[in-house]
Amino acid sequence: MASVTVSHVTKSFGNFPALSDISIDFSDGGLYSLLGPSGSGKTTLLRLIAGFSFPNTGEIHIGGSAVERLPVEKRNIGMMFQNYALFPNMSVYDNVAFGLMVRDTNKEEISKRVGDVLELVRLTGYDRRKPHELSGGQRQRVALARAIIFRPKVLLLDEPLSALDKALRLGMQVELKRIQREIGVTTILVTHDQEEALTLSDKVGVLKDGKLLQEGTPREIYERPATAFAASFLGDANLFKGRVVSGALELDGGSCLRSLDVLPEGGTATCAVRPEKISIVADDEVLASDANVMEARLDDIVFAGNSLNYLLHYGDIPLQVFAQNHEAAELVPGQLVKLAWYARDTILVEA
């Protein structure tokens, strides 16, 4: 097991800067997600850590030793590919044993460890199957078993759950986390799926255009996004742009929003509010003294079973409000409704 340190790494393809000056510490035994849209550089970073390509400048340390010039096969990393990349001509056993076989491990040791790891991923008895005889979820377990059997220093996961359907994905999230805890391997996961990043990881790094925008625990990133991009990429966000007048954000429609963040006096600013933090309140409801209140026009109500999704407009600003199904009031599209939320849920973000 080992920590991974990426310091001041840049990588460009031709004239295209894929990564610019990235520095991240991946702590020993942690599960870190690199989250970003396609083209953000997250996969490039994963491939640099794996050793499929080398950085233009900067250093990568695994367990304290510099590896940025070592090829993949010398880095002792385990990697799970998006499409699993199982060897089609080999059985489950041979696939899983591959990492030990190329390390000249003796047969009895291989057989014992394949048995152990298949038990860990709950595929005991599937040794003789070929990859095409397995379901998507089973293939993924084989890919995971293959990547961890030789006790790599680091486990790299490239969009690990994206090829699974939704029902299976939830189960695998739990499984993946259990296995990662059990073997305690430092894990770096690349994903564009915010839910995957939030549920799986101890720490999340948000990437965009080859830059690390923000990193922190899932909770920190979700509750305190630093930029408008992070706010809307991780979950949904209502964004309010306005002028700062005596410490509050004044919107075009006249409403003033208060925030616990210090707003830049005299300039313009953008604040984000999560849709589930906003309540639709009755006119006569008693509100906290620091509540933000505004009236907005209701456009539509989207029924999503356990929740209701209200689509509204305040002036030109489109708004979303999520409410649990139990508190659904009788509202009709077109009517004006009163919205309220706490000042502490109004977060100053970089536009």
Binding site: F52, N76, V102, A147, L156
Partner: protein, 262 residues
Amino acid sequence: MKATPTLLVVGRLYLALVLAFLYLPIVVMATMSFNTSQFYQLPIDWTFDWYVQLSSNQRLLAATRNSILVAMATTLIATVLGTAASIALFRYEFRFKKLFQAALFPPIAIPWLITGTAMLLFFFWSGIGRGLHAMVLGHVALALPYVIIVVSARLRGFDADLEAAARSLGATPWQVVRYVTLPYMAPGIIAGALFAFAVSFDQFVISYFLSVPGISTLPVEIYSAIRQGFTPEINAISTLVIAFSITLLVIVSRFYRFGDSR
């Protein structure tokens, strides 16, 4: 649309005609190789005489041996070079790659007579000369495009992530090729090798141009034998060649199905 009874009959008749057109001459030839009469007289009087005679015909036997030698050398060289070229074309981007790939096709389309003339002139001019070594060179040049096309077709369905996965698991570049790339390519390589063998073994024009008196291949020898007068020994050797070719074809179809990835 459901086939009407008439259409069904016409269809079957047509199919029978096609098959007869393709196989009747061969069947006649094979049968006559077992007939005592030199002059195709019926009824057939079964005999193995022509095969016995063939076994003492040193010229045909030597030519057969030459053909097999040249075909095996061609197969070995063309398969190794063609496989390496296919891997390079699959894996790397380089200047003039498209041009190179396009340049693979004309040799298949250019009449062998022209290619053969050009080779004869070139080999004479460059001092390579004629003989079995020159034939091997010529046959390799002819077979190489077939091998590259067949092996590349197989590789096209290859997932490059498999190689990446093998490397991430600690495999050295050689181990990657040995355990992952080659096993995947094997059906294509075997098919390519059989193509190369067939191209060389069947080759007449180029072999004819590049043969020297006394040293030639089976097709050339059969041709000269026929010119001097037809004997059922030719039927016998041709029948053997056909039996051999059909065996080869069965093996090809076993390993290589066109357009099928598995």
